[in-house]
Amino acid sequence: MPLTEKHREYWHRNLKLTSLLLAIWFLATFVVSWYARELNEIVLIGPLGFYMGAQGALIVYVLIIWYYARRMNQMDKQYGVQEGDE
């Protein structure tokens, strides 16, 4: 089936959302861990570098996936590519 403009836009927006969330994932994982020693100097709930690895990053991951599912399920409806009603 040929794709319409609208289909292309859906896919484009999906890619944009995916890249954005991937960037957050990268930041929370690799950039924060890279500076773990420096961040450990800051103490909020425990040393920050340690806390981010033990809890902070995990919370970010859960939020990333939660937001992606919510946003994409909305966009499916917006672009008329959702599946039949459950």
Binding site: I45, G49, Y51, A54, L58, Y61, V62, E86
Partner: protein, 692 residues
């Protein structure tokens, strides 16, 4: 599938069943607790837990038996997001997560967080790159996708090979875990424990395939999370008065642990002085061993004879001294008796003695990242930490037994939600493990260190009596008090001993064992099914006999399941070494083999068959090559690339895989129109529903 009116009803029904189930399980635990109070022996309680839970899993498997292909392979594609999340959680969390992780964190502090981050962050990649698209594709296995997307049997066969390679190494570690747990808690022999556990796994997956495995895994998740949480919450209340360990560990326990670490490392304080005296003894022993090793190098067997003569002389002098020191004589007699008979044993024994210098160093601060003695060492530690996180994450997003679970949801929408629930349920345990490690460390540092050897806490003497590898405590400097340097703890102890540390009755220890068993069994279930399905569906049905009738497909599948299970149990009973390495290697292997080909297959239409073949072979090849070159087990010990450890070989394999797919695709013609249409089909949840 979508639009089936019974889905909402089905969800309600499931919620009701599992609420009853959870209530029933709690009642069961209470009942065992009452039996304990009535004085039933601990061994019998262990048996009750073991057999009751295995029977339960088998019962669920029996109720979910099926002869339908779709139910057998993908649970009829009607597992709601929430329940698929729980099943994925149990599928994912193995014995290593349940029993090993908190211990690793206890022993390594910050550096162990690579596992916590790696084994959760990978789900972001699953959610963003794979789960919704694989669900839309909607076949049965991961090689299925490779076969359909890239055409021909070669990509599929490489997929089957890689599936078996990583799942089999992984399943051996799980069955090993089952054997350890059953033998520790019931006193059965290791090999018998393996086969008892295996019987439980088999009844379940054999009768009902994915359908039975799914519903059993949900039940196992509930047991394992309850078993993990109760002791930790209790311990947190006991130490800090706060029932949320994830907060109390950081606000109240960690600062105290850090303060104690400083004290232990500061010879000006009383505790620091005591620690230093123990370390001094270790240093002397190591130095003596080093001198002996050097003497052995120079003098050979003559040196050995003269050393032995020296010992005999010492013993003689001791016996002649008044007053007679019986303890010293006994020690000297023992040393003489155990004196190595030849050069080879002497070298091994004295090298082991010299290794004791590892215990002579200062305490490593728990929160310190990338600890090393200089800047270069810290830099290598940091690189390896990030590389390991990367491999574990990409590996998570490439392990077939996890990806397969997302075939079982009713729709793409549910698949997306289900990744969220999966990570949420995994998060509950993973966010608790670092907190548990800190709480136990606090207990050891503040309550165990400084107590007298005559009045050791019950849990310490109990475990020291049961297993020296888990708890080894000796009064090295003979001051009658415990110093931290005198205690050696095995990682697994942390979870296993928590109920006793928290002062809970034995029934909770039994519950923890049942939780560990649930974690190991559920993962083993998923892995065995994945291997058997790759063989029966991809090799037998898709390649050998595409016209095979349904009944024969299921017979082949079930026979293969049995065969794989028996082979896996046999290999496990040989107790192969280096299990931890094998497990971690599975992640690097899966990442290198699958991730590039799967992701580019969805996000890059131009990717084609040659690209996939090149990418998978090159990625897997580089990964295996690097492991064989650098891992000591293989005996080559080539120089490491940029100081990266063999466990993180995927850091080279994954980029190679991507480059391979791109080059291979660009030097050969674009894929056919049908395949490009398949890519579009996978990208949109519903193309026909274009209402614009």
């Amino acid at each position: 599938m979508a639009g089936r009116p019974s889905n909402a009803h089905f969800l309600q029904q499931l919620q009701r069943y599992y609420s009853f189930y959870t209530g029933g399980f709690v009642a069961f635990v209470v009942m065992v607790g009452i039996l304990e109070m009535l004085g039933v022996s601990i061994k019998i309680l262990g048996y009750i837990f073991l057999f009751a839970t295995i029977l339960l899993y088998a019962g669920i498997g029996f109720m979910a038996k099926t002869a339908d292909v779709s139910e057998y392979y993908v649970a009829g594609r009607r597992v709601p997001a929430l329940f698929n999340g729980m099943a994925t959680g149990a599928d994912w969390m193995s014995a290593a997560s349940f029993i090993g992780m908190a211990g690793t964190l206890y022993l390594t502090g910050y550096d162990g967080l690579a596992f916590v981050m790696g084994w959760t962050g990978g789900y972001c990649l699953v959610a963003l790159f794979l789960a919704p698209y694989l669900r839309k594709f909607g076949q049965f296995t991961i090689p299925d996708f490779l076969g359909a997307r890239y055409g021909g049997n070669i990509p599929r066969l490489i997929g089957v090979f890689a599936t078996i390679l990583c799942s089999f190494t992984y399943v051996i570690a799980q069955i090993y875990g089952v054997g350890i747990i059953t033998s520790r808690f019931t006193g059965l022999e290791f090999t018998i424990g393996v086969f008892v556990g295996l019987a439980g796994i088999l009844v379940c997956s054999f009768l009902g395939g994915m359908k039975a495995v799914t519903w059993t895994q949900v039940a196992q998740y509930i047991i394992l999370i309850v078993a993990y949480m109760i002791p930790v919450v209790w311990l947190s209340v006991k130490h800090t008065g706060n029932p949320v360990p994830q907060i109390s560990a950081y606000t109240s326990a960690l600062p105290k642990v850090s303060a104690l670490e400083k004290e232990f490392n500061d010879p000006e304080t009383a505790k620091g002085r005591a620690e230093e005296s123990v370390r001094q003894i270790f240093r002397e022993r190591a130095a003596a061993a080093r001198d002996r090793l050097q003497g052995l190098d120079a003098g050979g067997s003559e040196f050995l004879v003269s050393e032995k003569a020296k010992l005999a002389e010492e013993l003689k002098t001791l016996k002649g001294t008044v007053p007679i020191n019986y303890r010293a004589i006994e020690a000297a007699e023992k040393a003489l008796r155990q004196f190595p008979a030849d050069i080879a044993t002497a070298r091994t024994a004295w090298s082991a003695d010299e290794a004791i210098k590892a215990r002579a160093g200062p305490v490593k601060p728990h929160a310190e990242a990338f600890a090393a003695k200089d800047e270069v060492g810290r830099d290598i530690a940091r690189k390896n930490f990030l590389a390991l996180v990367f491999c574990l994450m990409v590996g998570t997003a490439a392990l077939p037994h996890i990806l397969m679970r997302f075939y079982t949801t009713p729709s793409v929408e549910q698949a997306r939600r289900s990744v969220f629930w999966s990570l949420f349920f995994i998060f509950l345990l993973y966010v608790t493990a670092p907190a548990l490690a800190i709480l136990v460390k606090f207990e050891v540092y503040s309550n165990l260190v400084g107590t007298s050897f005559a009045q050791l806490p019950a849990w310490v003497s109990n475990w020291a009596a049961v297993d020296k590898t888990l708890m080894n405590i000796t009064d090295i400097n003979k001051d009658g008090l415990v110093q931290l340097a005198e205690v050696v703890i095995g990682g697994d102890l942390v979870v296993l001993a928590t109920p006793e540390i928290a002062g809970l009755p034995y029934v909770i220890s039994g519950l923890v064992a049942a939780g560990g068993l649930a974690a190991a069994l559920s993962t083993a279930d998923g892995l065995l099914l994945t291997i058997a399905n790759a063989l029966s569906h991809d090799v037998y049905y898709k390649i050998i006999d595409p016209n095979a009738p349904t009944t024969r497909r299921l017979v082949v599948s079930k026979s293969l399941l049995l065969l794989v299970a028996v082979v896996a149990a046999y290999v496990t009973s040989l107790k192969p070494g280096d299990i931890l390495f094998l497990v971690s290697a599975a992640f690097s292997l899966a990442a290198s083999a699958f991730f590039p080909a799967l992701v580019l297959g969805i996000f890059w239409k131009r990717a084609n068959q040659l690209g996939a073949i090149l990418g998978m072979v090159a990625g897997l090849g580089i990964c295996m090559y690097y492991m064989i070159q650098t891992y000591p087990f293989f005996g080559i010990n080539a120089a490491k690339w940029w100081g990266i450890n063999p466990i993180s070989a995927g850091i080279f394999g994954v980029p190679t895989g991507f480059i391979g797919v791109v080059i291979g695709s660009l030097i050969s013609p674009a894929p056919s129109r049908e395949i490009q249409a398949l890519v579009d089909y996978v990208r949109y949840p519903n193309l026909k529903g274009d209402t614009a």
